[in-house]
Amino acid sequence: MASEAHVETLALREQFDTEAQQNDASTLGMWVFLLTEIMFFGGLFMMYTVYRAVYPNVFGLASSTLNEIIGAANTAVLLCSSFTMVLAVRGAQLGKRRTVMLFLVLTIILGLVFLGIKGFEWNQKFQEHHVPGPGFHLEGTALQGQAQLFFSLYFAMTGLHALHMVIGCGLMLYLLWKTYQGTYSPDYYTPIDMGGLYWHFVDIIWIFLFPLLYLIDRHLK
Protein backbone atom coordinates (compact mmCIF):
# COMPACT_ATOMS: atom_id res chain seq x y z
CA MET A 1 0.00 0.00 0.00
CA ALA A 2 1.49 3.29 -1.05
CA SER A 3 1.48 5.61 1.89
CA GLU A 4 3.06 8.64 0.31
CA ALA A 5 1.08 10.70 -2.14
CA HIS A 6 2.29 9.81 -5.61
CA VAL A 7 2.64 11.89 -8.73
CA GLU A 8 -0.75 12.44 -10.32
CA THR A 9 -1.56 10.93 -13.70
CA LEU A 10 -4.85 10.78 -15.55
CA ALA A 11 -5.12 7.08 -14.88
CA LEU A 12 -4.39 7.54 -11.22
CA ARG A 13 -5.30 10.74 -9.44
CA GLU A 14 -3.25 11.63 -6.42
CA GLN A 15 -5.96 10.93 -3.87
CA PHE A 16 -6.14 7.27 -4.85
CA ASP A 17 -3.75 4.44 -4.09
CA THR A 18 -4.56 2.04 -6.89
CA GLU A 19 -6.25 2.14 -10.27
CA ALA A 20 -8.81 -0.38 -9.10
CA GLN A 21 -9.75 1.93 -6.26
CA GLN A 22 -10.09 4.87 -8.60
CA ASN A 23 -12.19 2.93 -11.05
CA ASP A 24 -14.44 1.61 -8.30
CA ALA A 25 -14.90 5.09 -6.98
CA SER A 26 -15.81 6.49 -10.40
CA THR A 27 -18.29 3.72 -11.09
CA LEU A 28 -19.95 4.11 -7.72
CA GLY A 29 -20.02 7.87 -8.15
CA MET A 30 -21.70 7.52 -11.54
CA TRP A 31 -24.34 5.15 -10.23
CA VAL A 32 -25.07 7.46 -7.31
CA PHE A 33 -25.43 10.27 -9.83
CA LEU A 34 -27.89 8.16 -11.83
CA LEU A 35 -29.75 7.59 -8.57
CA THR A 36 -30.25 11.34 -8.28
CA GLU A 37 -31.44 11.33 -11.88
CA ILE A 38 -34.03 8.69 -11.04
CA MET A 39 -35.38 10.95 -8.33
CA PHE A 40 -35.21 13.98 -10.61
CA PHE A 41 -37.44 12.33 -13.19
CA GLY A 42 -39.28 10.66 -10.31
CA GLY A 43 -41.06 13.88 -9.42
CA LEU A 44 -42.51 13.98 -12.93
CA PHE A 45 -43.42 10.31 -12.92
CA MET A 46 -45.22 10.89 -9.64
CA MET A 47 -47.23 13.79 -11.05
CA TYR A 48 -48.04 11.81 -14.16
CA THR A 49 -49.28 8.87 -12.07
CA VAL A 50 -51.47 11.07 -9.91
CA TYR A 51 -53.05 13.05 -12.73
CA ARG A 52 -53.55 9.97 -14.84
CA ALA A 53 -55.24 8.25 -11.92
CA VAL A 54 -57.52 11.24 -11.35
CA TYR A 55 -58.32 12.00 -15.00
CA PRO A 56 -58.03 8.63 -16.79
CA ASN A 57 -60.39 9.40 -19.66
CA VAL A 58 -58.95 12.71 -20.77
CA PHE A 59 -55.45 11.36 -20.42
CA GLY A 60 -56.37 8.34 -22.53
CA LEU A 61 -57.85 10.58 -25.19
CA ALA A 62 -54.96 13.03 -25.20
CA SER A 63 -52.47 10.19 -25.24
CA SER A 64 -54.10 8.65 -28.29
CA THR A 65 -53.53 11.81 -30.32
CA LEU A 66 -49.80 11.16 -30.18
CA ASN A 67 -48.43 9.20 -33.10
CA GLU A 68 -47.37 5.88 -31.63
CA ILE A 69 -45.51 4.84 -34.79
CA ILE A 70 -43.23 7.85 -34.51
CA GLY A 71 -42.84 7.10 -30.81
CA ALA A 72 -41.94 3.50 -31.50
CA ALA A 73 -39.52 4.53 -34.23
CA ASN A 74 -37.84 6.92 -31.87
CA THR A 75 -37.60 4.18 -29.25
CA ALA A 76 -35.93 1.98 -31.82
CA VAL A 77 -33.49 4.76 -32.71
CA LEU A 78 -32.55 5.15 -29.06
CA LEU A 79 -32.14 1.41 -28.58
CA CYS A 80 -29.86 1.32 -31.61
CA SER A 81 -27.83 4.16 -30.13
CA SER A 82 -27.50 2.20 -26.91
CA PHE A 83 -26.25 -0.73 -28.95
CA THR A 84 -23.63 1.39 -30.69
CA MET A 85 -22.70 2.93 -27.36
CA VAL A 86 -22.08 -0.42 -25.75
CA LEU A 87 -19.96 -1.41 -28.74
CA ALA A 88 -17.94 1.78 -28.29
CA VAL A 89 -17.33 0.87 -24.66
CA ARG A 90 -16.35 -2.62 -25.74
CA GLY A 91 -13.94 -1.15 -28.24
CA ALA A 92 -12.41 0.91 -25.48
CA GLN A 93 -12.04 -2.18 -23.31
CA LEU A 94 -10.11 -3.80 -26.11
CA GLY A 95 -8.13 -0.65 -26.86
CA LYS A 96 -9.41 -0.35 -30.45
CA ARG A 97 -9.30 3.38 -30.95
CA ARG A 98 -10.83 3.43 -34.43
CA THR A 99 -13.73 1.18 -33.36
CA VAL A 100 -14.43 3.45 -30.43
CA MET A 101 -14.46 6.50 -32.67
CA LEU A 102 -16.69 4.86 -35.24
CA PHE A 103 -19.30 3.82 -32.72
CA LEU A 104 -19.18 7.12 -30.88
CA VAL A 105 -19.91 8.88 -34.15
CA LEU A 106 -22.78 6.48 -34.83
CA THR A 107 -24.12 7.06 -31.34
CA ILE A 108 -24.05 10.81 -31.81
CA ILE A 109 -25.78 10.52 -35.18
CA LEU A 110 -28.53 8.32 -33.74
CA GLY A 111 -28.90 10.74 -30.84
CA LEU A 112 -29.34 13.59 -33.29
CA VAL A 113 -31.84 11.56 -35.30
CA PHE A 114 -33.83 11.04 -32.12
CA LEU A 115 -33.77 14.75 -31.39
CA GLY A 116 -34.76 15.51 -34.97
CA ILE A 117 -37.77 13.25 -34.81
CA LYS A 118 -38.64 14.72 -31.43
CA GLY A 119 -38.41 18.23 -32.89
CA PHE A 120 -40.68 17.16 -35.76
CA GLU A 121 -43.22 15.86 -33.26
CA TRP A 122 -43.12 19.04 -31.21
CA ASN A 123 -43.57 21.07 -34.34
CA GLN A 124 -46.67 19.04 -35.11
CA LYS A 125 -48.00 19.80 -31.65
CA PHE A 126 -47.68 23.49 -32.36
CA GLN A 127 -49.60 23.11 -35.60
CA GLU A 128 -52.30 21.03 -33.94
CA HIS A 129 -52.70 23.55 -31.10
CA HIS A 130 -51.68 20.90 -28.62
CA VAL A 131 -49.26 23.18 -26.84
CA PRO A 132 -50.52 24.29 -23.42
CA GLY A 133 -51.40 27.95 -23.33
CA PRO A 134 -54.10 30.30 -24.57
CA GLY A 135 -54.28 28.74 -28.05
CA PHE A 136 -54.64 25.21 -26.79
CA HIS A 137 -57.38 23.05 -28.22
CA LEU A 138 -57.88 19.31 -28.18
CA GLU A 139 -60.68 17.83 -30.29
CA GLY A 140 -63.15 15.47 -28.75
CA THR A 141 -63.33 16.72 -25.20
CA ALA A 142 -64.64 19.73 -23.38
CA LEU A 143 -62.16 19.19 -20.59
CA GLN A 144 -59.52 21.43 -22.10
CA GLY A 145 -57.87 22.13 -18.75
CA GLN A 146 -57.23 18.52 -17.94
CA ALA A 147 -56.10 17.87 -21.49
CA GLN A 148 -53.62 20.68 -21.05
CA LEU A 149 -52.31 18.96 -17.95
CA PHE A 150 -51.47 15.95 -20.09
CA PHE A 151 -49.64 18.04 -22.65
CA SER A 152 -47.89 20.04 -19.95
CA LEU A 153 -46.57 16.78 -18.59
CA TYR A 154 -45.77 15.60 -22.11
CA PHE A 155 -43.67 18.66 -22.81
CA ALA A 156 -42.05 18.71 -19.38
CA MET A 157 -41.08 15.04 -19.55
CA THR A 158 -39.97 14.84 -23.15
CA GLY A 159 -38.35 18.27 -22.84
CA LEU A 160 -36.23 17.30 -19.87
CA HIS A 161 -35.41 14.02 -21.56
CA ALA A 162 -34.37 15.83 -24.71
CA LEU A 163 -32.21 18.15 -22.64
CA HIS A 164 -30.47 15.07 -21.25
CA MET A 165 -30.00 13.83 -24.81
CA VAL A 166 -28.39 17.11 -25.82
CA ILE A 167 -26.05 16.92 -22.84
CA GLY A 168 -25.35 13.30 -23.78
CA CYS A 169 -24.44 14.25 -27.35
CA GLY A 170 -22.09 16.93 -25.99
CA LEU A 171 -20.53 14.35 -23.73
CA MET A 172 -20.04 11.97 -26.67
CA LEU A 173 -18.38 14.72 -28.70
CA TYR A 174 -15.97 15.33 -25.85
CA LEU A 175 -15.22 11.61 -25.58
CA LEU A 176 -14.73 11.44 -29.34
CA TRP A 177 -12.22 14.26 -29.20
CA LYS A 178 -10.35 12.66 -26.32
CA THR A 179 -10.33 9.29 -28.04
CA TYR A 180 -8.98 10.94 -31.17
CA GLN A 181 -6.19 12.38 -29.06
CA GLY A 182 -5.42 8.89 -27.80
CA THR A 183 -6.14 9.64 -24.15
CA TYR A 184 -7.71 6.27 -23.41
CA SER A 185 -6.27 2.82 -23.22
CA PRO A 186 -7.48 -0.58 -22.00
CA ASP A 187 -6.02 0.45 -18.63
CA TYR A 188 -7.86 3.72 -18.52
CA TYR A 189 -11.15 4.24 -20.28
CA THR A 190 -13.30 5.20 -17.28
CA PRO A 191 -14.77 8.31 -18.95
CA ILE A 192 -16.08 6.24 -21.87
CA ASP A 193 -17.52 3.74 -19.43
CA MET A 194 -19.21 6.52 -17.46
CA GLY A 195 -20.48 8.19 -20.61
CA GLY A 196 -22.00 4.84 -21.57
CA LEU A 197 -23.78 4.51 -18.23
CA TYR A 198 -25.26 7.97 -18.67
CA TRP A 199 -26.37 7.27 -22.24
CA HIS A 200 -28.06 4.01 -21.31
CA PHE A 201 -29.76 5.66 -18.38
CA VAL A 202 -31.28 8.32 -20.63
CA ASP A 203 -32.39 5.46 -22.84
CA ILE A 204 -34.10 3.77 -19.89
CA ILE A 205 -36.01 6.97 -19.07
CA TRP A 206 -37.37 6.94 -22.62
CA ILE A 207 -38.22 3.26 -22.33
CA PHE A 208 -40.73 4.33 -19.67
CA LEU A 209 -41.83 7.58 -21.26
CA PHE A 210 -42.79 5.80 -24.47
CA PRO A 211 -45.52 3.51 -23.08
CA LEU A 212 -46.68 6.02 -20.48
CA LEU A 213 -47.18 8.87 -22.92
CA TYR A 214 -47.98 7.06 -26.16
CA LEU A 215 -49.40 3.64 -25.50
CA ILE A 216 -51.51 3.12 -22.39
CA ASP A 217 -55.24 3.32 -23.16
CA ARG A 218 -54.60 3.71 -26.86
CA HIS A 219 -57.17 0.95 -27.41
CA LEU A 220 -59.85 3.30 -26.07
CA LYS A 221 -59.66 5.35 -29.22
Binding site: M46, C80, F83, I207
Partner: protein
Protein backbone atom coordinates in the same frame (compact mmCIF):
# COMPACT_ATOMS: atom_id res chain seq x y z
CA UNK B 1 -10.60 -3.15 -15.61
CA UNK B 2 -13.07 -4.66 -13.29
CA UNK B 3 -15.66 -6.35 -15.41
CA UNK B 4 -15.20 -9.01 -18.05
CA UNK B 5 -15.70 -8.12 -21.70
CA UNK B 6 -18.96 -9.38 -23.17
CA UNK B 7 -19.11 -10.66 -26.73
CA UNK B 8 -20.65 -8.67 -29.57
CA UNK B 9 -23.07 -11.56 -30.03
CA UNK B 10 -24.51 -11.09 -26.54
CA UNK B 11 -24.99 -7.40 -27.13
CA UNK B 12 -26.56 -8.02 -30.52
CA UNK B 13 -29.05 -10.48 -29.07
CA UNK B 14 -30.03 -8.04 -26.33
CA UNK B 15 -30.44 -5.34 -28.94
CA UNK B 16 -32.67 -7.51 -31.11
CA UNK B 17 -34.81 -8.53 -28.14
CA UNK B 18 -35.17 -4.88 -27.19
CA UNK B 19 -36.35 -3.96 -30.68
CA UNK B 20 -38.74 -6.89 -30.67
CA UNK B 21 -40.19 -5.83 -27.32
CA UNK B 22 -40.69 -2.31 -28.66
CA UNK B 23 -42.67 -3.66 -31.58
CA UNK B 24 -44.58 -5.98 -29.28
CA UNK B 25 -45.61 -3.27 -26.83
CA UNK B 26 -46.71 -1.00 -29.67
CA UNK B 27 -48.80 -3.77 -31.19
CA UNK B 28 -50.35 -4.86 -27.90
CA UNK B 29 -51.41 -1.28 -27.20
CA UNK B 30 -54.06 -1.63 -29.91
CA UNK B 31 -55.60 -4.65 -28.25
CA UNK B 32 -58.17 -3.93 -25.60
CA UNK B 33 -56.93 -5.59 -22.43
CA UNK B 34 -58.92 -3.37 -20.10
CA UNK B 35 -57.06 -2.58 -16.94
CA UNK B 36 -54.29 -4.94 -17.99
CA UNK B 37 -53.06 -2.72 -20.78
CA UNK B 38 -51.21 -0.66 -18.17
CA UNK B 39 -49.78 -3.75 -16.55
CA UNK B 40 -48.61 -5.22 -19.85
CA UNK B 41 -47.07 -1.98 -21.09
CA UNK B 42 -45.22 -1.39 -17.84
CA UNK B 43 -44.09 -5.01 -17.54
CA UNK B 44 -42.55 -4.82 -21.00
CA UNK B 45 -40.92 -1.53 -20.05
CA UNK B 46 -39.48 -3.06 -16.89
CA UNK B 47 -38.11 -6.02 -18.86
CA UNK B 48 -36.49 -3.63 -21.31
CA UNK B 49 -35.04 -1.62 -18.46
CA UNK B 50 -33.60 -4.75 -16.91
CA UNK B 51 -32.04 -5.80 -20.22
CA UNK B 52 -30.40 -2.43 -20.71
CA UNK B 53 -29.23 -2.21 -17.10
CA UNK B 54 -27.98 -5.77 -16.76
CA UNK B 55 -26.24 -6.08 -20.13
CA UNK B 56 -25.52 -2.66 -21.57
CA UNK B 57 -24.77 -1.08 -18.19
CA UNK B 58 -22.98 -4.22 -17.00
CA UNK B 59 -25.05 -4.37 -13.85
CA UNK B 60 -24.79 -8.16 -13.86
CA UNK B 61 -21.05 -7.82 -13.48
CA UNK B 62 -21.33 -5.13 -10.82
CA UNK B 63 -20.85 -5.54 -7.12
CA UNK B 64 -23.59 -5.72 -4.49
CA UNK B 65 -23.21 -2.07 -3.60
CA UNK B 66 -24.05 -0.88 -7.11
CA UNK B 67 -27.09 -3.13 -7.17
CA UNK B 68 -28.11 -1.75 -3.81
CA UNK B 69 -27.86 1.80 -5.16
CA UNK B 70 -30.16 0.93 -8.06
CA UNK B 71 -32.65 -0.86 -5.83
CA UNK B 72 -32.57 2.04 -3.39
CA UNK B 73 -33.40 4.48 -6.17
CA UNK B 74 -36.35 2.43 -7.37
CA UNK B 75 -37.58 1.93 -3.81
CA UNK B 76 -37.45 5.64 -3.05
CA UNK B 77 -39.27 6.46 -6.26
CA UNK B 78 -41.92 3.96 -5.24
CA UNK B 79 -42.19 5.62 -1.82
CA UNK B 80 -42.70 9.03 -3.37
CA UNK B 81 -45.42 7.75 -5.68
CA UNK B 82 -47.17 5.42 -3.24
CA UNK B 83 -47.42 7.78 -0.29
CA UNK B 84 -48.68 10.60 -2.49
CA UNK B 85 -51.22 8.29 -4.11
CA UNK B 86 -52.29 7.23 -0.62
CA UNK B 87 -53.37 10.81 -0.07
CA UNK B 88 -54.98 11.35 -3.47
CA UNK B 89 -56.96 8.12 -3.41
CA UNK B 90 -58.24 8.41 0.14
CA UNK B 91 -59.46 11.98 -0.29
CA UNK B 92 -63.14 11.24 -0.79
CA UNK B 93 -63.48 8.47 1.78
CA UNK B 94 -64.83 10.49 4.62
CA UNK B 95 -67.42 12.30 2.52
CA UNK B 96 -66.32 15.65 3.93
CA UNK B 97 -64.81 17.96 1.31
CA UNK B 98 -61.22 18.84 2.06
CA UNK B 99 -60.63 15.95 4.44
Amino acid sequence: MTHPIDSVKTYAWVWIILLFLTALTTAVAHVDLGAFSVVVALTIAVVKMLLVALFFMHLRHSNQLTKLVVLGGLLWLALLIMLTLADVFSRGWLGVPGR
